[in-house]
């Protein structure tokens, strides 16, 4: 069990993480969401024993790892946001190097190298230099390296950034299998809400250095149980129409979408007639209307005031 207790990190006067409490039970898959600058990376770095917290503690099986980082390090796998590999080396040379720093040798090293390369589907390309790999292949190898020493916990910091949908799907399936079938404990951060929804048992949402909400997907969506969203597809964007909607007391929030506007309104109080009236007044041509129950994205927006990918 990995736990952060009242964790705080201050850089000069800036409080990057403030009183963060996080719990990862054995075999759980936890999502950590937050807009850019929310403090996710700092929090992860403290858990990874890379940065000392200003206050608070991180425990592994109820023992502090601040004083004894070596309790956690051998059972921790890390997939950094960057491609943390040597691009001038081949996939096999990378795996072998990182295996050796985890004290794997001889036959065991060979077997583990073969196993992880097979797991990420790179056995055929293991002799090729990493710099010749596609983004998706590099991301897969980035994960393989973290799994070499058979960790109990894996921390994945946006492991699917900038890759094609097929590679992304491959990675998500792999992480889900590792978690559900092999009992690997996962802490996962992403800018893709659907990834977290698909993979994680529980979700923590951070903003301005604080954990502002946590729970299962359903528990979080329940925060917005009294609301629903209306998606208006517009022929072209009309700024005066958006402003008029924002002034309307019955509409709680208006956000710009790629093809129109999204409105959050109180449940059972949609006032669609008023919306159409305003559209007519401002010459806005509505081509489609979609009424939905709120998504996790809406919850995130509600809590942080920002979209996840802002």
């Amino acid at each position: 069990m990995l736990e952060t207790i009242g964790l705080k990190k201050t850089f000069k006067r800036h409080v990057a993480v403030d009183d963060a409490n996080l719990l990862l039970k054995k075999g759980e898959s936890i999502g950590l969401l937050g807009p850019n600058g929310a403090g996710k990376s700092t929090l992860i770095s403290m858990i990874e024993t890379l940065i000392k917290p200003t206050e608070g503690d991180v425990t592994w099986n109820e023992k502090s790892i601040i004083k004894q980082p070596d309790l956690l390090r051998p059972v921790l796998g890390v997939v950094p946001q960057e491609i943390a590999l040597y691009k001038e080396l081949s996939a096999y040379e990378n795996v072998k190097f990182f295996g050796k720093i985890y004290k794997l040798t001889g036959k065991e090293l060979e077997e583990r190298a073969e196993a992880v390369l097979k797991l990420v589907g790179l056995s055929d390309r293991q002799k090729d230099l990493v710099k010749t790999f596609s983004g998706g292949m590099q991301r897969r190898l980035n994960i393989a390296v973290a799994l070499l020493h058979e960790p109990e916990v894996i921390i994945m910091d946006e492991p699917t950034v900038g890759i094609d949908p097929q590679s992304r799907n491959y990675i998500l399936e792999m992480v889900r299998d590792l978690n559900r079938e092999q009992g690997l404990t996962v802490l996962y951060t992403s800018h893709y809400m659907e990834e977290v929804e698909r993979l994680c048992d529980r979700i923590y949402i951070m903003d301005n250095g604080k954990v502002i909400a946590n729970g299962t997907k359903e528990e979080l969506i329940a925060i917005l149980s009294e609301e629903e969203s209306i998606e208006l597809v517009l022929e072209k964007p009309i700024s005066t129409f958006k402003e008029a909607l924002e002034m309307e007391p019955s509409i709680l929030r208006v956000t710009q979408e790629s093809n129109g506007l999204k409105l959050i309104v109180p449940k059972n109080n949609r006032k669609l007639t008023r919306i159409f009236q305003l559209a007519e007044q401002h010459d806005a041509s509505i081509t489609n209307v979609n009424i939905q129950i709120p998504s996790l994205e809406d919850v995130f927006l509600h809590l942080t005031g920002k979209k996840l990918r802002d």
Binding site: M46, L50, K52, P69, Y86, E88, L89, F97, I101
Partner: protein, 424 residues
């Protein structure tokens, strides 16, 4: 450490741009500078001045009298005897040499007659750049060789001040030219006369080692720039390894290594060993190419090879130390600026002060002294001394200086390594 070393060497060697910087650029530069600045190293500069001591142990009149006795006791016909006596009375090798130094070369040389002990002290105190000893029986032996064809030769001895390598080399060349032309004239004398001798009448000895004049040339511009450029470009290997460390921090590979719990010493020593072996190879390749293509460093004796290899090992260790320190500072501040400033500015300053671009003899004394403490300056001095056959005693001073430098680099690297930032 071995795992880190293998990885660092592979990463370094698979970067073609870096390979060009490490091997091709110094080779091109040494070729250009070596050919372009041939004149600078020839010692013909009008503005050049040096202080030398002349130690005359030879008694010219006594030598001539001894030769006269030899002639009178010889079996030669009377006519030949009187002709040779005539030559002997009018031909004074020591005086010719004295005249050459004190009159013909008075713009370049300031010659003071001293006793040998006085001259040694003056060299130690850096008051003079070199001394020339005209040995006892120089006149007698030289004339006997020339006129009677006996297999004796007299040896002029040059002692160079270790502080004045460059100017002392020029003095060496002057004396060498004198003995060459003297031997030529002597050969003509013999050819026109009746006697024939196979050995040169005047030989030279430099700092205790006897050499015939053709064996040991002064350092050529090509040799000088081979050493200069090799010493300078070795620095770039250190900055390159630090830049690779920066990439490791940026791409979070360094975090991965820290999280694995590996000791800093394994990471640092892997880098240092990679720099050490790369620099050693760099020096070896450049020296070999210069020798094969341009005929530098020849003839190369076993002693010379041992000397140059020893210096190269210590210099490569010093550069490995710099590489370790730059790596430490790079990962500590997570910035490439330090390696950038080193390769962009400090290397140029070191190269200039240490004499990689031009010999430092023309610089003010304080600047020269500063240059003697730069790593490339220490190595260059040691290489020059080794090539001039000065022997281990002279080289060892610079080896000690390099060892001190290595120690400082290693200690600084270990002390400054950012272990406190990690939750250990």
């Amino acid at each position: 450490m071995w795992n880190f070393f293998v990885k660092d060497v592979k990463v370094l060697w698979r970067d073609r741009t870096e390979l060009m910087v490490m091997f091709l650029m110094p080779f091109v530069l040494m070729t250009i500078l070596g050919f372009a600045l041939q004149g600078v190293m020839g010692g013909s500069s009008e503005s050049f001045e040096m202080e030398v001591a002349l130690v005359v142990q030879d008694e010219e009149e006594e030598g001539k009298e001894k030769l006269e006795i030899d002639l009178s006791e010889s079996q030669l016909p009377e006519q030949a005897r009187s002709a040779l006596l005539e030559v002997s009375n009018n031909f004074s090798p020591a005086s010719i040499l004295d005249e050459l130094l004190t009159e013909d070369l008075q713009d370049q040389l300031s010659v003071t007659q001293m006793r040998e002990e006085e001259a040694k002290t003056a060299i130690d105190q850096q008051e003079i750049d070199a001394m020339l000893i005209i040995p006892d029986d120089f006149t007698y032996d030289t004339l006997k060789n020339m006129l009677l064809g006996e297999e004796v030769s007299s040896t002029l001895k040059i002692v160079k001040g270790p502080h004045a390598n460059f100017s002392a080399s020029i003095f060496h060349t002057i004396i060498e030219q004198f003995s060459e032309s003297f031997n030529l004239e002597a050969a003509i004398t013999k050819a026109t006369g009746t006697q024939v001798a196979s050995s040169p009448s005047v030989e030279m000895e430099v700092n205790g080692e006897t050499l015939s004049v053709t064996e040991r040339d002064p350092v050529s511009s090509m040799e000088y720039y081979t050493i200069g450029m090799a010493a300078m470009f070795a620095f770039f290997t250190a900055s390159t390894i630090a830049s690779k460390a920066f990439t490791e921090t940026q791409q979070q590979v360094f975090s991965r290594i820290l999280i694995s719990g590996k000791r800093p010493s394994a990471y640092l020593s892997g880098k240092a060993l990679a720099v050490f072996l790369t620099v050693l190879l760099q020096l070896g390749v450049l020296f070999s190419l210069s020798s094969i293509i341009f005929g530098s460093f020849r003839p190369l004796s076993i002693e010379d090879m041992i000397g140059m290899t020893t210096i190269s090992i210590f210099y490569a260790l010093a550069i490995a130390g710099i590489g370790a320190l730059l790596t430490t500072l790079t990962v500590k501040y997570q910035s490439n600026t330090i390696a950038g400033v080193f390769s962009g500015a400090i290397v140029s300053i070191f190269a200039l002060l240490g004499g990689s671009f031009i010999p430092t003899a023309g610089f003010p004394e304080a600047v020269q002294k500063l240059g003697d403490w730069t790593p490339n300056g220490m190595a260059m001095n040691a290489y020059m001394q080794s090539m001039q056959g000065l022997g281990a005693d002279y080289i060892i001073t610079n080896i000690w200086k390099l060892s001190g430098f290595i120690l400082i680099m290693v200690l600084l690297s270990l002390v400054l390594y950012p272990r406190k930032k990690v939750g250990a």
